[in-house]
């Protein structure tokens, strides 16, 4: 078994990229040559979906490139060591079971999960649950904002369960699917099948359970499903974007049941965690990212992990299209579009504006309405509308709970003043420049 040199492999990838640009996908960087034996170059992809795409579209592109680089008549095969979908062999009618199981992302395993202060408890609880189904925390309820790793933990539980206990029946679905199945079962008069399907599993994992809130009948059915499984000591894992009690219109009996196990919160990652996440994602995708760039990205993208990953992919794509290595220069350019706007928070704006006008934050948030305070406050609101994606209500909330019409009024007032009043225009331009400088890491 021998694999080619890194330079040869890079050369092959480059040729595929230049000769067949339309075929190239962002994750090509993550492909790994496994071995070159008997005239066959085996290439490992991240998951089955990638393998199917490569098989369907890219066989000859890779073979040609490999032949040119190696000057040998080689062919290529694509494979993945990620296991296939979870078997769904419990005899449930195909019409329903088809496509209902969410595909597990093979990257979402515990080994790839970066533990930080914000998610330590949720992670520990997930590991404990996966290692002893139905015995430690039942149900496990994970909540947190979008893109913070809830789905990763849920799928990691499935992966681990599957490897520790291959015979366990796992059902991993979204809340939406549950509700749709329920409706379909009611229409077809196939409630027995439905109940059998959902009540004979060892592990039931439902993502985004908050959507159950709006569906009364589904809630009721889920209540019974929950009880059956819970009594049989079968594991239930749920995720939502808020704690059980805050899911609107969720019946109390469900709220109390959700809270009966462990409710774990995942918080936004701190700076160190973000850096660790970036480093790990970069390694998984075989993207070489220098330390200072990782720090830069982690500083500028604070929202969630999906955005971090998006930034990393953009860096990779840009470095490939410009054929240069990833460095600070490239990172600045890559982050200089819309993702940057998220990097500016209302807090930044308040900082800059209060310093500029020499007012106190407390005054801005108070009910005081002299012009010396109301003007900076309006400027803040105006800039917040421009630089952040917060809603009118949310912006109002930052300034002493003012309602949306106040923010709208401030926005319009400042807009008009910018057009008519040179002094105000200059002020706003100064403030914008300061904010942008901060955006680009000058401060």
């Amino acid at each position: 078994m021998s694999v080619m040199t890194t330079a040869e492999w890079k050369n092959i990838l480059d040729r595929v990229r230049t000769q067949n640009p339309a075929l190239v996908r962002g994750w090509f960087g993550g492909l790994v040559p496994v071995d070159l034996c008997g005239g066959v170059l085996r290439i490992r992809a991240g998951n089955l979906k990638q393998v199917r795409y490569l098989d369907d579209a890219c066989g000859s592109a890779f073979a040609n490139a490999a032949q040119q680089v190696l000057e040998q008549l080689v062919t290529t095969t694509f494979e993945t060591d990620a296991p296939g979908e979870i078997a769904d062999d419990d005899g449930y009618p195909l019409s329903m079971s088809e496509n209902n199981q969410l595909q597990l992302n093979e990257d979402y395993i515990f080994e790839h999960f970066v533990v930080g202060a914000g998610n330590r408890m949720a992670h520990a609880a997930s590991v404990a649950v996966a290692e002893a189904l139905g015995q430690t925390y039942n149900p496990l309820f994970i909540h947190g904002d979008v893109g913070l790793g809830k789905t990763h933990l849920l799928q990691a539980i499935c992966h681990t369960t599957r490897s520790l206990n291959p015979s366990a029946t796992i059902l991993y679905i979204s809340c939406e699917t549950f509700a749709n199945h329920f409706i379909e079962a009611v229409e077809r008069g196939a409630m027995n099948e439905f109940r059998y399907h959902y009540r004979h599993v060892d592990l039931l994992v439902i993502d985004d359970i908050q959507f159950l809130g709006t569906r009364e009948r589904s809630q009721e059915e889920f209540f019974h499903t929950f009880n059956t499984l819970h009594q049989a000591q079968k594991q239930i894992v749920l995720s939502a974007d808020c704690p059980p009690a805050e899911i609107p219109t969720l019946e109390n009996r469900l709220v109390s049941r959700f809270k009966s196990g462990l409710v774990a919160f995942v918080d936004a990652p701190c700076m160190e965690t973000r850096m660790a996440i970036l480093a790990k994602k970069a390694r998984l995708r075989c993207i070489e990212v220098p330390e200072d760039v990782i720090e830069y990205v982690a500083t500028h993208i604070q929202t969630n992990i999906r955005d971090l990953e998006g930034a990393l992919l953009r860096l990779d794509a840009m470095s490939q299209s410009s054929e240069s290595a990833i460095d600070m220069e490239l990172a600045r350019r890559a982050l200089d579009d819309d993702s940057q706007r998220h990097a500016i928070t209302i807090q930044h704006i308040i900082d800059v504006v209060t310093r500029y006008f020499g007012v106190r934050v407390k005054d801005l948030q108070s009910k005081k309405r002299p012009k010396s305070i109301s003007h900076p406050r309006q400027v803040c609101m105006y800039l917040a509308r421009e630089f952040t994606s917060h809603s009118l209500e949310e912006v109002g909330g930052y300034f002493g709970g003012r309602d949306h019409s106040t923010v709208l009024h401030a926005d319009r007032t400042v807009k008009k003043m910018v057009e008519t009043n040179d002094k105000v225009r200059r002020t706003i331009e100064d403030l914008r420049a300061t904010l942008r400088a901060r955006q680009n890491g000058a401060e």
Partner: protein, 365 residues
């Protein structure tokens, strides 16, 4: 045993059997040939444990049946150097006496009980191949087969039998040869396996005028062949053969038609002024002509031009002359065609019907 054999026939038999016997092995018995004297014929048996052969010698007079095991190469030398028409073999426990006119060799033997078993073709064969076709397919494919295992190729020839179609493919990573043939019947099991080069090389050697067809049967990890005089059992090469269809370019848009003899002569001459460093011969195709140029640093250079049928765009490509010569020699047709696409993409040489040869260019820049 005691037996008299026709020396000529025995020499032929030993030629085939001797090529199977192992030459360097820690087990001396594998360097031997076993002669089994039966009532009306003798059987010469040899094996290197991967390939086994049983070869029948029919012009014999048997006085006493029984086996004897002798060093294959020594026996072969004695038979070759002798001048007699008939040689007599007479063995006791540990010595075999070989007698010709005025000659007497006493050769130490090995115990026949130690000789490993060699499979026969039992039962009905899976299918039968025309002997001449098999010989020619073997010749064509073996020339591109890898002689040793490299990371690029498998040293075997792929056999693919689907109904009436029999396809053989071999590649050493720089070239690939494919031969397609038709079977008389589509009965019997389909087959896909890799036959070692050593086995394939036996067919041109042992298939003679007497052979009409060769019977083939797959038995688990072995393939057994039966010809008029011999039964060959061969282990198979493990592993996955490269997807050869992917290697054969299908998008070539330049096709030259060239007289085989002209091409062969031109490439051979051009190759005279190449060496390890210059690697290849440059082929420049332009309307109606092919120019071959070569250069050997410190020796000189050559330009050879031959007329061809060609009307596509001008193209320049480098090839290893040895690869072209070996293929062109094996072609029987008067004309060959060469399909090309780019200087860095493989070319396809076609000559006889059902034969195809893909060859990787060399980079001359």
């Amino acid at each position: 045993m005691k037996v008299r054999m026709n020396r000529q026939e025995l020499a032929e038999a030993l030629g085939a059997v001797g090529s199977v016997a192992a030459s360097r092995t820690p087990k001396p018995i594998l360097e031997c040939t076993m002669i089994e004297a039966h009532a009306d014929h003798c059987l010469l048996v040899a094996t290197d444990l991967e390939i086994g052969i049983r070869y029948t010698v029919s012009q014999v007079e048997v006085d006493e049946t029984g086996p004897v095991v002798l060093k294959a190469d020594k026996l072969s030398q004695i038979v070759r150097e002798s001048t007699d028409e008939i040689l007599e073999f007479n063995s006791d426990d540990s010595i075999c006496h070989v007698r010709g006119a005025g000659a007497h060799f006493q050769i130490y033997t090995q115990p026949p009980a130690d000789f490993p078993p060699v499979a026969e073709l039992s039962g009905e064969p899976d299918f039968e191949v025309d002997a001449n076709a098999l010989r020619r397919m073997a010749e064509w494919t073996v020339l591109a087969a890898a002689r040793e295992n490299t990371r690029y190729a498998i040293n075997g020839v792929l056999w693919e039998r689907k109904g009436k179609d029999l396809t053989m493919v071999a590649t050493d990573g720089r070239r690939l040869s494919m031969a397609q043939g038709k079977l008389e019947s589509d009965e019997g099991a389909n087959l896909e396996c890799i036959v070692p080069v050593k086995t394939m090389s036996l067919f041109p050697r042992i298939l003679g005028a007497a052979d009409k067809t060769v019977a083939v049967k797959a038995t688990g990890s072995q393939l057994v062949f039966r010809t008029a005089k011999a039964t060959i059992s061969s282990s198979l090469v493990e592993g996955q053969f490269p997807k050869y269809q992917d290697v054969i370019p299908s998008d070539c848009d330049c096709t030259a038609t060239i007289k085989t003899a002209d091409m062969l002569s031109a490439v051979k001459r051009s190759a005279l002024l190449t060496n390890e460093e210059s690697k290849g011969v440059r082929l420049s195709f332009s309307s109606g002509k092919l120019q071959l140029s070569s250069r050997a640093p410190s020796q000189g250079e050559s330009v050879i031009e031959i007329p061809i049928e060609y009307s596509d765009r001008e193209i320049e490509i480098g090839f290893n002359p040895t690869f072209l010569v070996e293929a062109l020699r094996a072609v029987q047709a008067d004309e060959v065609s060469l399909d090309l696409k780019e200087p860095n993409r493989p070319g396809v040489l076609r000559g006889d019907k059902g034969r195809l040869y893909v060859v990787m260019p060399v980079n001359l820049s």
